[in-house]
Symmetry: C2
Subunit: 477 residues, 2 copies
């Protein structure tokens, strides 16, 4: 058992005058005298003062950027500016040398692209350390939000044998020999011989299984990995990402919107409260990055201001009808500046969503009641017979963070919608069963976890907010 | 927006005399007068009193087992035994009929096997409702335990391109055409043409990636799905299950054991504190089940007693050497009753582990310092050059719940161990990098989440503690 104390614990308990031992990594070593040491327990560093009369130069020489050391010494108030406490080292021991001649990282600014290629080291940088600590905080806030409100966490299946989720973009999961798979009578690969007795894929959503649970337990949420085999090499796409999908019996579309808004605000408030140091660092980082941009390309609000802004304002709620008519009266529409057409019955594109959020309302916007033909079959048909009770939550900068709906609970209407969508009822007999036997009105939505972490951290590329990004051609580690 | 109140909220705020609306499902309807209603918000039910003079018989007739209804009425103290409050219904509306002639579930005891085939309904039963509410509580307790202690939640990758994890039992993830895959010059399937540019599999463990994060952030934990393509149709195996894998810099094997013990106790204490109704129900269920067993097959302790027992006792800690010598002096060994041999250098089998836990110590046991040849290459070699700093936590009834180790942080020793295990250093260059550059002593372990939920709920088959079990031949929903 190591007799060491974590830096966070020292800063909290402040055992001034006591002899303590810490272990950690060197962030900086100034003047052969001052070590900035961090051990992960606190987002800042602890200053270690090295007296050349006490610590041999054979040791001092090995104290460098990202070397791992153990220090025993006296915990003291610091006389220097910039920190309240420091340790006066009696003994320094090297736990792990770091040869800077060979080490891929260097104590200077390095591009995100470079760091992405060194994913086993990038979390050691201050930027990624801040990002992944915030990612943790958001994840914990998700669980706390739902737990406090009486929701049950559901682990939806990752491997799914369900056909109805949009097979084209799904990854296949198989144990058949790739070179000599068993064939059926038609000479095709015989998936009845596969591990699960049929073709299976990686899930794209836990919603349908979430409905099963909500109609038994009342309120549930999923929080798990989902997959999309889309060949998109963009800063917005991942092949593997995490989703949160709450599903609630006895919630209509308005209850659903209320929950979505409260949820977004809670996550952001939680990080503002718990990750002040990390956010300040990222805020500063963005400001420096933007110095190089022309004035009109800079954000109107800084990172912190934008987060406060979302927390402190009601989201604007409009219908799709209203959205279309606002867009048709907008300057960019009249000047022909939108790339995509605006017309009732067409889906809103990113440029339209951004106009609504960033120009028209300057607030997060919830659009509801979309035309039925551009939305999924399971969304509840409104009385106008033209729209469904769908809702999208739109954020500045990143666009849609949440998509949801009230679900169609009427078996006959659902059957019609399935037929129109070309889904055979037999494929989803169990889903129809949920409507046939003790069905209830219910609603739910999905939040792309990485999108939210991107919004909160201000990171421009979604690959920089997930520890090990999976994208076309890339599955390192 | 529905104007309804959740049952849990009514029981908490007790608005006696007020008019309230509730929505929920009927668990029972006695004497055409008393409805036991539940809506998931509370593990119990709320009594609804139906007055035939107020509620028409065309409605009353449709109030049956698992029908979904809305009730408006007056919240009152109950005069009857068995409940404190009830609602005197003014209006009952049917939200979802339930035709018992066609409904697969019936208001009587049904076998676990039958319910497993009706997985979209089984959560509606009291047993599974209790199990999945406890599963939620355990999951939340996992996050709370680590968050409170300054650990960061890490999402380890699900799709992995890493070769070194034991490929035989891994599921392949692919987007290549099953019928006409591209071939390389040797006529084999060319995985360089696959989505990720190489062959990829579903992860069997997040440990190695966890080490990357721990050596940057200090203390991390994973909690995600893991996969094993083992063709085992037993009550103990799942192809898809959830694992928790904490990994800590600056922890040795003793720190690791301390954390593992505190973690187990915390999870169980949390459920004892938060799920009293669910546990009492499952305790009773087990007792009734055991009535049919001969006395010597019954548990010595009831479910609740066993949980209290684990929480209130120190785990016994012994070395592998001690374990072997205890077993060699045991009655079953001397009488030749063990199926598998006991000999230094062989792994302990389930029967040996159970003997240690259930007969010798009657407490959870942690065995450490196993022979290096039966353990993984990354476990830290002890000074005796024969054993490694591995540890297994053994529980009554289910055997090993936790396996962990201090990791080998010395590059040269690790290289030797890799060579002995037939792993080429090039395959794991990044893993070696973690030792080459600012490496730190570190440790970690893995807990099989479903095993722990099984222990806490007393469910005999692991398929009954995961919402949608994946096993050979079975990937429904």
């Amino acid at each position: 058992m190591y007799n060491r104390t974590e830096i966070a614990s020292l800063l909290k308990n402040q055992p001034v005058g006591e002899k303590v031992t810490v272990m950690g990594w060197v962030r900086a070593f100034r003047n052969n005298q001052f070590i900035a040491l961090h051990d992960g327990s606190d987002s800042g560093t602890l200053q270690i003062v090295v007296d050349p009369e006490k610590i041999d130069s054979t040791i001092t020489r090995r104290i460098g950027f990202h070397a791992c050391i153990m220090v025993t010494g006296s915990f003291q108030h610091s006389q220097g500016a910039g920190q309240q406490f420091e340790i006066h080292a009696d003994v320094v021991e090297i736990l792990g040398d770091n040869d800077l001649e060979k080490y891929p990282l260097q104590p200077k600014k390095q591009t995100m692209e470079f760091l992405r290629q060194k994913a086993h080291f990038r979390m050691r940088t201050q930027t990624f350390s801040a990002v992944f600590k915030i990612r943790h905080a958001v994840a914990f806030a998700v669980h706390k939000f739902y737990n406090d409100r009486g929701f049950y966490y559901l682990h939806a299946p990752i491997i799914t044998g369900s056909d109805a989720e949009g097979a084209g973009e799904m990854f296949r999961v198989t144990m058949l020999s790739p070179d000599k798979p068993p064939l059926n009578e038609e000479g095709k690969v015989d998936f009845t011989k596969d591990f699960f007795g049929k073709a299976t894929n990686l899930t794209v959503s836990g919603q349908l299984q979430g409905e099963i649970a909500a109609l038994a337990l009342g309120k549930i949420y999923t929080f798990g990995p989902t997959f999309r085999a889309e060949n998109s090499n963009t800063p917005r796409h991942l092949a593997e990402f995490w989703m949160i999908e709450p599903e609630m019996a006895f919630y209509d579309i308005i209850d659903n919107m209320d929950l979505a808004e409260a949820f977004c605000k809670y996550l952001i408030s939680y990080v503002l409260e718990h990750n002040a140091i990390d956010l300040a660092f990222l805020d500063q980082r963005l400001k420096e990055e933007e110095k190089n941009l022309p004035t009109d390309k800079r954000r109107e609000l800084g990172l912190l201001e934008q987060l406060e802004f979302v927390v402190n304002n009601d989201f604007v709620r409009i219908t799709y009808d209203e959205a279309v008519s606002i867009l048709m009266q907008s300057k960019p529409y009249k000047k022909g500046q939108f790339e995509f057409p605006v017309e009732w019955g067409r889906d809103l594109q990113a440029e339209h969503e951004r106009y609504l959020v960033e120009k028209e309302f300057k607030k997060p916007v919830i659009v509801r009641n979309y035309p039925k033909d551009i939305k999924a079959f399971y969304m509840r048909l409104n009385d106008d017979d033209k729209t469904v009770a769908a809702m999208d939550v739109l954020f500045p900068g990143i666009g849609e963070v949440i998509g949801g709906s009230q679900r169609e609970e009427r078996e006959s209407v659902l059957l019609d919608r399935m037929e129109q969508s070309g889904i055979h009822p037999d494929e989803m007999d169990w889903y129809l069963d949920l409507r046939r036997f003790g069905g209830a009105p219910h609603s739910g939505f999905g939040l792309g976890f990485e999108r939210m972490v991107q919004f909160i951290t201000g990171m421009g590329n979604i690959r920089d907010v997930i520890p090990f990004p999976r994208t076309p051609g890339n599955a390192e580690f």
